[in-house]
């Protein structure tokens, strides 16, 4: 009797275990398309055997919980690659906007409007033309108008770059809010996980935490450090603490020298963030490295041309017989004080074409030798050790090459992300075929257990009715 009862309880235990396992399968299938959900498998535990009369008898099975199919190391590697891919693709977008300002001139039907290279050539060519007839008013007007076009296009490009920088500033600041809410959420999850499952995988809570980590690593470069009791510390790539156990530190922003800087605690970590990865790293690299580099090249170009041309014009005699002096200079461009900022400020200040000094100082106004010298500035090393056109040519090549370099990196990183993602999905995503097979197995097992139950039930009835005509069936 006792053994039949215990057999019955073993069977009911089996039916319960199968039912719970079926619940797990149903949960998996229901969450097959949930982002970040990790497939769970039921844990079977054999119950401790019972000693009866010196004989060990098994006591059935219990379903003790579920195990999430997760590889923490794989997920961390995936996060690291996403950081890199995210940073390079953000930077690539910014570089693309930059290079769009300097589209190559196809040259098929005259110069492309706004092409700085052809503006430089036209400007110095206007002096070459002036050589042939230095007193000609139309040719003098041509000098001033090509100067205007050049100054307009250079200052236009510089001001567009400045606008792009301001836009990147805004976008970078926008990321901060998202980062802060994610770090707070992770800190909260840390506490919950540490209290509910300090020794093992935390299941759904861990799913959430990994999901938050994945999003965070796309925004900002992070390092993850597992601590005791299933806790997690998060630092930036260069080591500043973002999350420690249940505490999260908020990123703040503040304006420094006209751009947005980023602070953690009281420390300015902008430079570290730029090299750290994630979207924020991409924005900051574009804002603090790429754009200033381009502006510096344009500034050198504007400064070199403006100062050299002005100086040469003041070394000659204009059509009215006047020579420029320091007190009353004959400047064509506004004279810049230093290279920085000279591109955005480049403009033509001369309005009277008579003031172009085609003649050398002291010569008659029909002399063209100063115009010859001014035309020859085009082949002198007046822009930071290069000729103006070589300087511009090198500038566009370098910008294009930087883009190509980042693009190559990004392609490799994206491919790596795809590969890791596939590996991770293969391990952790719900595979409907597996669930169907599991369901089928559990169904059979349930049927078998209930058959055993029916059998035991009839044996019990026989035992109860031992020797008697059946009153109990």
């Amino acid at each position: 009797m006792g053994t039949i009862n215990s057999a019955l309880s073993v069977t009911t235990g089996a039916l319960d275990a199968d039912q719970e396992a079926l619940n797990v399968v149903a949960n998996n299938v229901a969450n097959a398309n949930t982002t970040g959900y990790t497939e769970e498998t039921p844990d079977w535990q054999e119950n401790a055997p019972i000693e009866v009369g010196g004989i060990s008898i098994g006591d059935g099975v219990t379903e003790t919980g579920t195990t999430s199919q997760r590889d923490r190391v794989l997920e961390e590697r995936l996060d690291q690659q996403q950081q890199l891919a995210s940073a390079s693709s953000t930077r690539l977008t910014a570089l693309n906007n930059m290079q769009a300002l300097f589209t190559p001139d196809s040259g098929s039907s005259g110069a492309t409007a706004g092409d700085i290279g052809s503006d430089i050539t036209s400007f110095f060519d206007s002096f070459s033309s002036l050589e042939s007839d230095p007193t000609n008013n139309a040719l003098r007007e041509q000098v001033l108008s090509s100067a205007s076009t050049l100054a307009g296009d250079i200052s236009g490009a510089a001001s567009s770059l400045n606008s792009q920088s301001a836009a990147l500033d805004q976008e970078a600041s926008g990321v901060v809010g998202q980062v802060n809410s994610l770090t707070s959420a992770i800190a909260q999850l840390n506490l919950e996980i540490q209290s509910t499952s300090p020794d093992g995988d935390a299941g759904t809570l861990e799913d959430q935490r990994q999901q938050d980590l994945s999003q965070l690593s796309q925004l900002i470069g992070i390092n993850q450090v597992t601590t005791e009791n299933n806790g997690l510390s998060i630092t930036t790539t260069s080591g500043q603490l973002l999350v420690s156990e249940g505490q999260s530190t908020q990123l703040t922003t503040g304006a420094v020298n006209g751009v947005m800087d980023f602070f953690l605690g009281g420390t300015d970590i902008t430079a570290d963030l730029a090299s750290g990865g994630g979207q924020l790293g991409g924005y900051l690299t574009a804002r603090d490295v790429d754009i200033p580099g381009a502006l510096s090249s344009l500034d050198q170009l504007a400064y070199g041309i403006s100062t050299s041309v002005n100086a040469q014009n003041n070394a000659g005699t204009d059509l009215d017989g006047v020579t420029g002096t320091p007190a009353n200079p004959l400047d064509i461009f506004n004279e810049p004080a230093q290279a920085a900022g000279s591109a955005a400020a480049m403009s033509v200040v001369m309005t009277n074409p008579n003031q172009i000094a085609a003649a050398s100082a002291g010569n008659g106004t029909g002399d063209n030798s100063n115009a010859v010298t001014m035309a020859n500035l085009a082949s002198r090393l007046i822009v930071n050790g290069q000729t103006p056109i070589n300087s511009y040519s090198n500038f566009v090549s370098t910008l294009g090459a930087t883009f190509t370099e980042v693009q190559t990196e990004n392609t490799a990183q994206t491919a790596s992300v795809t590969q890791l993602q596939t590996q991770n999905n293969a391990l952790s995503s719900v595979n409907l075929n597996d669930e169907a097979a599991a369901m089928s197995t559990l169904e059979n097992s349930y049927q078998a257990a209930s058959q055993v139950f029916t059998l035991l039930n009839s044996i019990m009835a026989s035992a109860l009715n031992l020797g008697e005509e059946t009153a109990v069936t």
Partner: protein, 304 residues
């Protein structure tokens, strides 16, 4: 071996890739330009800037040389007329010197030579588009004027010795003018005006001092040769200019071809690439459709 259940997402990603590639190729085909952004060919973009620079410079020179040619031709033509006038003056002086003419005839010759002097001075004061071309650098005012306060009269030059040059794209320089002082006052011994004024004075009274007149006529001959030599400088410039123009035009043609090769789309290659991309796209779409249409998990196959 486990399998990524969401691999179809990757295939769709590839589909985006082929579509992007198709768009890029179609844009190149329709615009005819192969390099639409710096990153497509960074080195080529840099070269393109330099090629266009040269082409533009050559173009600008061609236009300048047309302007300058006009001026040189006017100078040449003026000096040609001067040579004719001086030849006539020498012929008149020679006939006056042979002693067969009477006083009034001699005086008449004196007047004719005076008329020739006025004509030569007017030619020396030639202007082209408002600028005096034989004034050196002081092109704003007529350079030559004659004062009859003394006898012989004195023609003076108010221009300067400035010589303008036009620089070619290859750095060579072409002389654009010869200063009037150099041509017509030629350092005393070769002075056209000096000789003419002297002859006018010689014949003004009607009586000819044969030795003086012969010496002055010889001086005028020397001056005429000198003017012819100066004219050669102008002619040389014109020749150099023509040669330079044709060399520059040739260079411009070659550079334009190089630049076109660099920038223009290679239509056959693009058409082939476009057709490949389209094929790949169609194949991908078919595969995806096939995979998604069949019921592809075990649940559909299990008996309820």
């Amino acid at each position: 071996m486990r399998v990524d259940p969401s691999y179809i997402t990757n295939l769709v990603g590839s589909l985006d890739g082929t579509q992007a590639s198709e768009q890029q190729l179609s844009a190149e085909l329709s615009s005819g330009v192969s390099i639409t952004s710096l990153s497509q060919n960074p080195v080529g973009s840099g070269e393109n800037v330099l090629l266009l620079n040269q082409i533009q410079q050559d173009d600008s020179f061609t236009q300048s040389s047309n302007l300058v040619t006009g001026q040189l031709q006017v100078a040449d033509s003026a000096l040609g007329s001067v040579v004719s006038e001086l030849t006539q003056a020498i012929s008149l002086a020679t006939s006056a010197n042979n002693g067969t003419l009477n006083a009034s005839d001699v005086q008449s010759i004196g007047n004719q030579i005076s008329g020739i002097l006025d004509e030569v001075q007017s030619l020396a004061n030639t202007s082209y588009q408002g600028q005096y071309i034989f004034a050196g650098g002081k092109t704003g005012a007529a350079p030559f004027s004659t004062s009859t306060a003394t006898s012989p009269a004195v023609t003076s030059y108010n221009g300067d010795e400035n010589v303008n040059q036009l620089e070619l794209p290859n750095g060579q320089k072409i002389q654009l003018n010869v200063p009037g002082g150099q041509i017509f006052l030629g350092g005393g011994a070769n002075s056209v005006f000096g000789a003419l004024n002297a002859l006018v004075a010689d014949y003004s009274s009607g009586t000819v001092n044969t030795q003086q007149a012969a010496s002055d006529t010889a001086a005028l001959s020397t001056a005429l040769n000198y003017v012819s030599q100066q004219r050669v400088t102008i002619d040389n410039s014109m020749t150099q200019l023509t040669a330079a123009s044709s060399a520059v035009t040739n260079e411009q043609t070659q550079l334009t071809t190089a630049q076109t090769d660099l920038m223009q789309a290679d239509l056959p290659t693009i058409s082939t690439q476009l057709s490949l991309a389209e094929t790949q796209q169609t194949a991908l779409e078919d595969v995806i459709a096939q995979l998604e249409s069949t019921s592809n998990n075990l649940f559909n196959k299990l008996q309820p």
